[in-house]
């Protein structure tokens, strides 16, 4: 039945969300974004998250090239990049990425290049994981809507 397909997919969405919350990947700010989605703004969450992805990838690329410089001295600039990534991660509820940024900033404040590179690797990994999971979430959401589910609100 059309209805039960949508219901099953909704259960899948909820399960994935519960997993992401439980693992500390997302926090309640993500729920706040979902609450802002309605008939007047039915794609709000994916719009904001996609902007987040674009901005974050720029920042991560810049961070990697800054840290790879032979004579690295511009820790101030690195700090600015980290703060931007930290801020936008916090604004969408990307808790784990945000927390890694905190560690990153600590290493950068100490002008610790090795530490920075190590944290950057973790950051890149965690960011990839987040992006994959959120893409998965949006995909299931799309399928749910195609199966006749209502697009908003995103949660029960």
């Amino acid at each position: 039945m059309l209805g039960s397909g949508a219901d099953r997919l909704r259960a899948d969405v909820n399960r994935l969300l519960a997993f992401l919350f439980h693992q500390g990947i997302l926090d309640e700010q993500f729920l706040q974004l979902q609450q802002l989605q309605d008939e007047s703004s039915p794609n709000f969450v994916s719009q904001v998250v996609n902007i987040y992805f674009q901005e974050s990838e720029k920042l991560l690329r810049n961070l990697r090239s800054l840290l790879m410089e032979r004579k690295l001295s511009d820790y101030k600039n690195i700090g600015i990049h980290i703060n931007q990534l930290m801020g936008s991660s916090s604004s969408i509820g990307a808790k784990r990425v945000r927390n890694v940024c905190v560690a990153f900033r600590a290493a950068s404040d100490q002008n610790n290049r090795t530490g920075c590179l190590r944290v950057l690797e973790v950051l890149e990994h965690d960011y990839c994981f987040l992006k994959n999971k959120l893409h998965e979430l949006f995909q299931i959401e799309q399928q749910r809507i195609l199966a006749g589910g209502v697009g908003y609100p995103m949660q029960n």
């Binding site: 802002l36 604004s91 509820g93």
Partner: protein, 235 residues
């Protein structure tokens, strides 16, 4: 000819009074949001729209000043003239490249035309010294990011209350003025009665009386750390 004269007269008064009339008709609060982060701009825009506000979002303090017509380098066309609507509230991020939110706050509060506009600062850092600095410079409130709907609702609530109270105060003052004129014209039997002892039975402490005078008595207004700070420090 008479009609032309009439229309010209109408137009002149409209120019003087019309600007104020048209904006007081609109119920919606117009907020100028300032943040260099695109993600944060999208979020704050949505939070404000869902709270029934008109929003103009800009990405820097400089652009905010340009919008208000305060940018020194750009000449204002006319005294009343900026392209946008009258701004009822400014919400700005603290950490921005170029002009910080604090510097924007200072510029707004130092301008005779715009110092009455409440300015709210947003910051991801919960630093008491920073909050104090902003409040001292005249910031209305300070929100720690990430911004939630409850933060926005709280701020819009007391902004609209203050706007309404300001209008009511104005209307009451105008009524008082009219009544005074009527009294002078007619018999003045509303002579000054001896000052009645006000029953101040309920409010004993100063802080509670301040509370009843300014903010609506809702728990949400007391949630603001800066409101609490303000109330206790004014004792």
């Amino acid at each position: 000819m008479a009609r032309n004269g009439g229309v010209a007269w109408m137009r002149t008064t409209e120019k003087i009074d019309g600007y104020d009339l048209s904006t007081s008709d609109t119920e919606e609060v117009h907020v100028l949001a300032v943040d260099d982060s695109l993600v944060d701009r999208k979020v704050i825009e949505r939070l404000l729209r869902i709270s029934s506000c008109k929003v103009t979002a800009v990405d820097s303090g400089r652009r905010a000043l340009q919008y208000l017509g305060l940018d020194e380098e750009i000449q204002k066309k006319e005294t009343n003239g900026f392209d946008g609507l009258k701004v009822d509230l400014i919400i700005t991020d603290y950490c921005m490249p170029g002009m910080t939110g604090y510097e924007l706050l200072k510029k707004v509060k130092e301008s005779s035309a715009f110092r009455e506009i409440p300015v709210v600062i947003m910051s991801s850092e919960n630093v008491i010294a920073r909050i104090d600095r902003c409040l001292e410079k005249g910031a209305e409130d300070f929100i720690v990011k990430p911004v939630k709907l409850s933060d926005v609702k709280r701020i819009i609530d007391y902004t609209t209350t203050e706007l309404r109270e300001g209008e009511q105060r104005g209307a009451r003052a105008r009524r008082r003025g009219i009544n005074k004129r009527k009294q002078r014209e007619g018999d003045d039997d509303l002579s000054s009665s001896p000052p009645s002892t006000l029953s101040s039975s309920t409010s004993s402490s100063p802080s509670s009386s301040i509370q009843s005078a300014t903010a609506p008595l809702s728990p949400s207004t007391l949630d603001s750390p800066t409101r609490r700070l303000k109330m206790t420090s004014s004792e």
